[in-house]
Amino acid sequence: MTWGWPALAGLVVGSYALKSLGLVVLGDRRVPARVEELLGLLPAALFGALIIVSTFASDRSLVIDARAAGLAAAAITVWRRAGVLVVVVAAAGTTALVRAIS
């Protein structure tokens, strides 16, 4: 299977199912508070992994390349409470610069 319209349709159906499950499908049924809490924290685990993998993974090896400089720039701008535009441009610009001079 390669990425294409059927795969996209799968993502669309799955995303909508999750969005409608709590609001419509479950009706008045209650869900344990602990479960709701863990669902709310799930993105933290995923974002943590996604940051590391999208910065340091190259196929199946771990590398430190220009992307690491981009992440550092993103971290500094986030820490300085910059907006999304600044964060994204800083990360891409730094990475492109490091790549161009190395």
Binding site: M1, W3, A7, L8, G10, L11, V12, S15, Y16, L18, K19, S20, L21, G22, L23, V24, L26, V31, A33, E36, L39, L41, L42, P43, A44, A45, L46, F47, G48, A49, L50, I51, I52, V53, S54, T55, F56, A57, D59, R60, S61, L62, A66, R67, G70, L71, A74, A75, V84, L85, V88, A90, A91, A92, G93, T94, T95, A96, V98, R99
Partner: protein, 214 residues
């Protein structure tokens, strides 16, 4: 503004990852949840399988179950209207609705907030996809670094809580350890188990409400 910028970024990296512009736009129209879209495209860009991309995306979308449960008290009943509301159920619309105590105000905040993000996100994606198609190799412009930057911006609100920090760290470590041993995308999916760390480092505060990245 932030939404539009995120949308442009998504359009650019999606086409950079090999999606056609119509497909990137269709994803924003019909999936319509940024974190899921960025994760799925990020896994594809790293060479992951479509199954891994869908799996990562849906794990990120699982939080919407909790949002839906919380919104039951805020949105008017009526099955058809709620089925429509589910499409624009995202971080922003949920946060806006939960911040209003009056049901009528909550409902209008949800719909106006959700629809304005829908417009901004989709216009941004269209612009970004056209831009991405035009510029050629994304690596030349450092666009592969947009992924970690976007994920970091999305993560930051969750880092204010102790269990959020513990969970993020656990996910990062699991991902790092698994990269050499598993196909692309699998480390992300397995890293979701990092949420179990939250059981160990519980925060006395109530469950995390959705927050907007700056």
């Amino acid at each position: 503004m932030a939404v539009g910028v995120f949308g442009v970024s998504f359009g650019v990296v999606a086409t950079g990852a090999g999606l056609s512009a119509p497909m990137a736009c269709a994803m924003s129209l019909f999936v319509f949840t940024g974190a899921t879209q960025f994760a799925a495209v990020g896994v594809l860009a790293a060479g992951g399988s479509p199954i891994a991309a869908i799996g990562s995306g849906l794990l990120l979308g699982a939080r919407h179950i909790g949002y839906g449960l919380a919104l039951r008290r805020k949105l008017a009943p009526g099955r058809v209207r709620r089925l429509l509301a589910a499409q624009i159920l995202i971080d922003e619309s949920t946060l806006l609705a939960l911040n209003e105590s009056d049901p009528e105000a909550a409902s209008s905040a949800f719909w106006w907030g959700g629809l304005s993000v829908f417009v901004g996100w989709n216009l941004g994606t269209l612009l970004g996809a056209l831009l991405g198609d035009a510029i050629g190799d994304p690596a030349t412009y450092g666009l592969d670094a947009v992924f970690p930057a976007a994920f970091l911006a999305l993560l930051v609100p969750l880092l204010r809580r102790r269990d959020g920090r513990g969970t993020a760290l656990a996910g990062a470590v699991i991902g790092l350890v698994l990269v050499p041993f598993t196909p692309a995308g699998v480390p992300i999916i397995v890293a979701s188990s990092g949420v179990l760390v939250a059981l160990a480092v519980r925060d006395p505060e109530p469950p995390p409400a959705p927050e907007l990245p700056a």
